[in-house]
Amino acid sequence: MAQAAIELIGINKSFGAVRANRDINLEVARGTIHGIVGENGAGKSTLMSILYGFYQADSGEIRVGGKPVSINTSNDAIALGIGMVHQHFMLVDNFTVLENVILGAENDALLKSSIAKARSELDRLEREYGLEVDPDAVIEELPVGLQQRVEILKALYRGAEILILDEPTGVLTPAEADHLFRILKQLKDQGKTIVLITHKLREIMAITDTVSVMRQGTIVATRVTKETTVGELAELMVGRRVLLRVEKGQSEAGAIRLSVRNLTVKDQRGVTMVDNVSFDVRGGEIVGIAGVAGNGQSELLEAISGIRHAVSGEVMLEGKPIDLTGKADPGELRDRGLAHVPEDRHHVGLVLAFEENENSILGYHDDERYLKGPFLDIDAIMADAKDKIEKYDIRPGNPRLKTANFSGGNQQKIVLAREMEQDPGVLIVGQPTRGVDVGAIEFIHKRLIAMRDQGKAVLVVSVELDEIRSLSDRILVMFAGRVVGERGPDATEGELGLLMAGVERQEAAE
């Protein structure tokens, strides 16, 4: 094995009562790509922030290139040749690429020589690593993939030999992610050491040489990537075998509870996003809508839940029409038994600054159960929140905690608990497990199937094909605003993939 670029020995870090890192031992060989996987909140980012000097470890030792070092500030890390690409980019949006690159690494008090130097350096980096980007472009006008490239350039400009990437593909399109991986391989070939933090196992398998799995603040295993499997890693991450496909019985479809007829929706620019779509959802079945993101699924969901204006068509909820002018009263729809888990929980589903118990009744706050005369019945709300926390295993189980302090998976559980516990007849769910870790995915899928088994009509929209296939009793595929096919749950990935890509095949329909 090559010499270690980084060694972490016995690292501990606590935030108050929470032990974010416990006795971490980690060794990363020079010139390799090392993956760190783990669920949200397993302590990956904390560990890397310690390495980058953003936090100081409570105890433990860090060695870089074999020498013990103390890293107290980001400056120390930079001086040791450690660069970090943060999950949320650390760029000044209205600065040019050049200005961002030289910020903090200027030659002297005047900018002139720094800019000249950075310009020629960027030119060299572009040639060596294929990291092309216009040095005079303003950051906010660049697509996300290029912004990330600027972050990598920033690190390389500061002479980074060790590059840490924190969830780099979370914001990228698949094509951008592939490009990033090509860049990382090139960096590795040039002798750089790369640490990749992610919760996507597919990426680990595709690009890393070795991988460490973190769970609840500790490293539970380190493997050579070639000698492990996705199944093993997933199991290590959650600590038990994961159902990659949820068990479910045969559906017993009953009466039609939600009916969509000839629905057409245009967006603000007047482009037709949903084009003459018709389908039914019966009680006791899960209908999944598959499709590549941006093919009208979001608009369809919004129109059905009454928050977006539809040009034509009708939607019947339990046999009665829904107001499609986009001005429907969400409270009234809730009363009629429609529950909606929106795609974007941060902007539509939750008020992050509210406490958990407040979010767990949001939208139902004028329900008699939560009122005492004209006032909120705090005791009832707290009891209700505690009940949901227990039922949905929301962690940490503190209803007074600010919602922003819950992990993504637990925030999603808060929304799901709120909507499901109202006992709706029809449940519409957008991206049920986006940003949710493996353990919570299984739980959420089980809850959705339980809803189905109680005779509810469930409509799921997801861009994750695996999820659609594992959950749905019927699969509708959307492409360019139209439903281009309907398949059973046994449809193959390839078959659905072709439909999603807009390739209509006669054989597939037969």
């Binding site: 650390m90 760029l91 209205n94 600065f95 200005e99 910020l103 005047l110």
Partner: protein, 323 residues
């Protein structure tokens, strides 16, 4: 020729009236570009004016007066920094508090020290900054057109006036051509980017506030030691707020700031000039209306003519390191 002279006189007083605005506006530019809202420009000017006039009267030196004005104003700026940077307090509240302290303490101390009803003693020659007559100003004074422009507009101001206008290109140069300026602009937009680049956010913001303090100190000294021969209570009369309005109007850019302040200065000068004299078509207008004119126009300009002003993104938000 008479109307030409009238124009020259209005422009001359435009310059004089816009100087304190310009200094305060540039002062605000430093702090706001660094992400610290500073509604306390008014208060810092006021303490600067009081400290300057007091020290000049006691020590019989204009320079000691100016130095004291700057010192005290910087001290107040550091208090604002201590509250809003170190302790992450609300920047508006801290600024308002500074304005109150300034308004109250200048009157109390003025009365206690000089017993002239809150005024400081009238400054004698040598204790004020005198007008600088440029070479040849007297000689060509009577040459038509060029003469009055040179003698009235360019020559014949105090050193602080030239200082204020020199600060415009200087500030531009600092902002866009120096390391400090780059970092200051960055910290006002995204302090996390500055922090991860290994630069201290707090120290950077403190330095920006020191610049603010220096400029408000000079602005105060100008009010009490150039425009007036001593300190009068509440002599800033809202100039700090107008400077803030000018800063927004100028979209946080130094050269724009100069034109914005000249515009406000011109409105002020014109309203003084037109008081009592009948206007064409309208006839005689009450003096109060003329005095209100600059403020009315401020509101109209800010409401309608400025377009989209995007303030520094991190403005007003204390920086908290988080994971």
């Amino acid at each position: 020729m008479d109307s030409f002279n009238a124009v020259i006189q209005v422009l001359d007083s435009t310059i004089r009236l816009s100087v304190p605005l310009l200094l305060a506006c540039l002062a605000g530019l430093y702090s706001e570009r660094a992400g610290i809202f500073d509604i306390g420009l008014e208060g810092k000017m006021l303490v600067g004016a009081f400290a300057g006039a007091s020290a000049a009267a006691v020590f019989h030196s204009a320079l000691i007066g100016l130095g004291t004005a700057v010192l005290i104003s910087v001290a107040f700026a550091l208090v604002h920094g201590f509250a809003s940077i170190t302790h992450r307090g609300n920047q508006i509240v801290s600024g308002v508090a500074i304005n109150f302290i300034a308004a109250g303490s200048t009157i109390i101390l003025g009365q206690a020290w000089f017993s002239q009803g809150g005024r400081t003693p009238a400054l004698q020659p040598g204790e004020r900054f005198e007008a600088i007559i440029w070479p040849g100003a007297d000689a060509i004074k009577d040459v038509p057109v060029i003469g009055p422009i040179y003698a009235e507009l360019i020559s014949g101001h105090s050193i602080l006036v030239y200082f204020a206008f020199a600060m415009v290109p200087f500030t531009w140069w600092v902002l866009f051509r120096t390391r400090f300026g780059l970092r200051m602009r960055a910290v006002g937009e995204n302090p996390a980017a500055v922090d991860t680049a290994g630069i201290s956010v707090a120290w950077l913001r403190y330095r920006a506030l020191i610049c603010t303090g220096i400029l408000t100190g000079v602005a105060g000294a100008y009010l009490s030691m150039v425009q007036n021969g001593g300190f009068v209570k509440d002599m800033t009369a809202g100039k700090g707020y107008i400077a803030l309005a000018a800063l927004i109007f100028a979209k946080w850019k130094p050269v724009n700031a100069m034109f914005a302040c000249l515009l406000f200065g011109f409105l002020d000068a014109a309203s003084i000039r037109l008081q009592g004299s009948p206007l064409p078509l309208v006839g005689k207008v009450p003096a109060q209306l003329m005095q209100a004119l600059p403020y009315v126009l401020t509101v109209i300009l800010l409401a309608g003519f400025i377009g989209k002003a995007v303030p520094p993104r991190a403005g007003g938000v204390p920086y908290v390191k988080e994971r």
